[in-house]
Each structure stands twice: as structure tokens, then as C-alpha cells.
């Protein structure tokens, strides 16, 4: 059997190898993804984000066990940072995922960011698709320790859990913009510690100050947990389920599907257009000519880009004129 068929049949080694191919932008990865794409879009994706050290991995592990108890297959994507100096990484989330790790029904994959900003690895979206096609019913995505700008998870997850803990200083200040706005469920973990009440109260206050919601809109709940011993975790799952039911009821799932498809399509179209334009510019010599002008301050970069684009478009139109079939070579 080929890799795609093995993956779809639930073979863990095939799923693992496919993820490696995608991470390494292997030549076969694109074909594999396009073959599997029709079989994706079925899994439910839950993001888990928050500052470093609040217990995201432990909570993710407990949630994996919760979702497993319903009989479904669970996938976990755990992202850790790559060292900007050596390109290496230590991926240690598994240390705190000991309950799920003993169960083949929980497939855990550690990813390094490999230079990507935003709290995830560049391959995350594709890794989710592979797990989805591999039959994982629920996929939990744990971001790197996040503050304000690490909000890429919102593009992939149906529901996002924002986790904080008391005693990290001014914890709410640390997450105020950015990730405060992407949470559907807020979790105060390590709630057996001093200051949990204050942290929860501050979260509630921030949520009160959020822009007016439509009547009937989702109002993010604040839940206290002690992930280490599992207290409060089933309540987190119940609230995540409630958010999922809300999305289904209000048409948010359908809207989200289209929005995610649109953002992927736009990103792909953009990078394809960029690659073609720049390739043409280099081959035609327009690149060096315009670059000289920009370097010498005769044209500003914005104007230079417009010149490149105009010439590219004219060349592209010319090559399609009937009777000028060989036009491509004349460029």
C-alpha cells in the first residue's frame, strides 16, 4: 500500500512519515497533501495557548485523555521553539504528556517552529490535515509559550483555549491584547495556588470590557483547573463542547470553513504570484534595472514594485496574444 492509503487506514508510522515529509517540504509532500485533501475537514481542532509555564502541556494531556474516554481517536500537535542560533530544538512537551502517551489512540507529534513566528510551525496547518485524514476525531494543538503576537492558532482551531496561571506577575497584563481576543474558553490553571481568585477576577473584568457582543453571541467562560491532578478538566471539555455546539448552531462552522479555505488560498496564490513575478523579473533583467534605480533613490521601492508588476503583466498578456504563440520565448 502507498503512504496515503496506509495513512488513511490509520497506520501511525505512515502518518508520522507523512508529517516528516511535509515538515521538510519534501518533493512528494505536495502530491500527498492534494491526494488527501478531499478526506480532510472532518476533525474538530482545539487550540491551547498561553504564556510559558502555565501548564499547557499538562492540560493538553488531560484533555487528550478526556476526549479518548468517549472512544474517539485523538491527535496532539505540540509546538516548541527552534533555537535561532543553532537551528536545533529540544522538544520537551512529551515529558508532561505521560497519561496520553501510553495509549496508541493518542498520537502525539512534537514540532519545532523552525524560524516561524506566530506561535506555531509553518507546517502546522498541513500536519492538522494529515492527522484529520488519518482518522483523528479531535486534534489538540498546543502552541509555544505565547504572549500577544502568537495568535496564528486562530486560523486553524475551531475553538481556542487560553491558559493562564496565578503568580506569574501581572499575568493578565502579559496577555492583554492579541491572545485575549482569540480565546473562546479561558482557563486559570494551578488554581490551588495563591492569587487564583484575583487572576480569575481580572480575566472576567477584561472580558467585560471587550467590545459589545451581539445578543446570543458566545461569551467566553473562565474556568479554574489544577491540570496536575485533573481537577476542573472535565469542565474545560464541557465548555469546549458547548462552544462547538454553538458554532454548529449559529453557522460558525460553515463560515469558519470558508474563512480558513480563503486564508489558505490567498496565502498560496500570493506566494505563487510572488515567485512567478520575481522569477520573470530576474530572467528578463527588469529586476536589476529597477533595483539600480531604487538603490540610487531615483524610484522609491513602492514605485519600483509597480513598474515591475506593470511590465510583468504586459509581458504575460503579450505571450497570450493569438498568432504569437512563441511569445514566451521572446520575453
Amino acid at each position: 500500500m502507498d503512504l496515503a492509503s496506509r495513512l488513511r487506514a490509520g497506520d501511525a508510522a505512515a502518518l508520522a512519515r507523512a508529517i516528516t515529509l511535509v515538515e521538510n517540504s519534501d518533493a512528494g509532500a505536495r502530491r500527498l497533501l492534494s491526494e488527501l485533501y478531499p478526506h480532510t475537514g472532518r476533525a474538530r481542532v482545539i487550540g491551547i495557548t498561553g504564556p510559558p509555564g502555565v501548564g499547557k502541556s499538562t492540560l493538553t494531556d488531560q484533555l487528550a485523555v478526556e476526549f479518548r474516554s468517549e472512544g474517539g481517536l485523538v491527535g496532539v500537535v505540540a509546538v516548541d521553539p527552534t533555537s535561532p542560533f543553532t537551528g536545533g530544538a529540544i522538544l520537551g512537551d512529551r515529558v508532561r504528556m505521560t497519561r496520553g502517551a501510553g495509549d496508541p489512540g493518542v498520537f502525539i507529534r512534537s514540532l519545532a517552529t523552525r524560524g516561524q513566528l506566530g506561535g506555531l510551525s509553518r507546517a502546522t496547518g498541513d500536519v492538522i490535515k494529515l492527522m484529520d485524514a488519518g482518522g483523528r476525531d479531535v486534534i489538540l494543538v498546543e502552541t509555544v509559550g505565547a504572549g500577544q503576537a502568537e495568535i496564528d492558532i486562530m486560523h486553524y482551531a475551531h475553538s481556542t483555549l487560553v491558559v493562564v496561571a496565578p503568580g506569574l506577575g501581572d499575568e493578565i497584563q502579559a496577555i492583554k491584547a492579541g491572545i485575549m481576543e482569540i480565546g473562546h474558553v479561558f482557563v486559570v490553571n494551578k488554581a490551588d495556588r495563591d492569587g487564583a481568585d484575583r487572576t480569575a477576577a481580572e480575566l472576567e473584568m477584561m472580558l467585560e470590557m471587550a467590545p459589545d457582543r451581539d445578543p446570543g453571541a458566545w461569551r467566553p467562560p473562565v474556568i479554574r483547573t489544577v491540570a496536575r491532578d485533573g481537577s476542573g478538566v472535565s469542565e474545560v471539555r464541557r465548555q469546549a463542547d458547548a462552544h462547538w455546539a454553538y458554532l454548529k448552531r449559529e453557522g460558525g462552522l460553515e463560515e469558519g470553513r470558508r474563512r480558513r479555505a480563503a486564508s489558505e488560498l490567498a496565502a498560496m496564490a500570493g506566494s505563487l504570484a510572488e515567485r512567478h513575478l520575481l522569477e520573470w523579473a530576474r530572467i528578463s533583467g527588469a529586476w536589476n534595472r529597477v533595483l539600480d534605480q531604487v538603490t540610487e533613490r531615483q524610484v522609491d521601492p513602492y514605485g519600483g514594485a509597480e513598474v515591475l508588476f506593470r511590465e510583468y503583466r504586459e509581458a504575460a498578456l503579450l505571450s497570450r496574444t493569438p498568432g504569437n504563440a512563441g511569445g514566451r520565448e521572446e520575453l
Binding site: A13, A16, R17, N24, T86, G88, I90, V95, S110
Partner: protein, 133 residues
Amino acid sequence: MGKIIRVLVAKPGLDSHDRGAKVVARAYRDAGMEVIYTGLHQTPEQVAEAVVQEDADVLAISILSGAHEVLVPRMVELLRRRGRGDVLVLVGGVVPDDDVPALLQAGVARVFGPGSRLDEIVEFTRRAVEGSG
């Protein structure tokens, strides 16, 4: 982007001394590899499952408990059964010289005893993975 070597550092068995494992993990990271660290007290089944899921190229087993004779061949066997007999298996820690041939026989590529140099471990790993690859 090219292939980045992925090493799973495992600490099976009952001993709780993972300093050596962490030092080796850091050396691999500093050499530009991705290291999956799994923590203490792993069973051979958990280690094998983790190697499969993480699609690791290398399994570096740190063992100080003296249980290597049982645990190591068991892990190698489990990997074979899961279709990952290609994984480079290394053992580090306290292994009596007399036990080394049996481990090599079982499928371990090399045993690094106390005092092994980190750059030697890293270099051996890189060569073995890239040579097979």
C-alpha cells in the same frame, strides 16, 4: 528546507538520574538537531510508540539502572515489529564491558560509556544517519 535529524532521547526503567540524558540532548540541539525528550520512567512500549509517532531517526537510550540487558533488546524488537527497524539505536550510561557485545548483537549501533565525549557522540550520530540516508 533539507532534512533535519530527529533524535528521541529516552530514559526507560526506574532510575531517576537524567542529568546525562539532558546533557546529551543539549549537545544534539546545539548541533542543529531536533531532540524529543520524553522524561523519566518510560516503559519500552511507550518509548517505541513515541519513536514511531515522532518519526525519529535516532533513539538514544540513557540507562543507569543496570536493566539494559532486558529493556534495550525489548525496545529494538518493538521497533522492528512496528516497521521501524531502520532507527539508529544508541545506548549511553553505565554498561559493563562484558554486556556490550550482546547489546550490539541485539541491534544497538554503539554503546557510549561514562566519559564519552559529546562531540564524538554527535559526530557518530550524524555520520550514521547521513550515511544510511
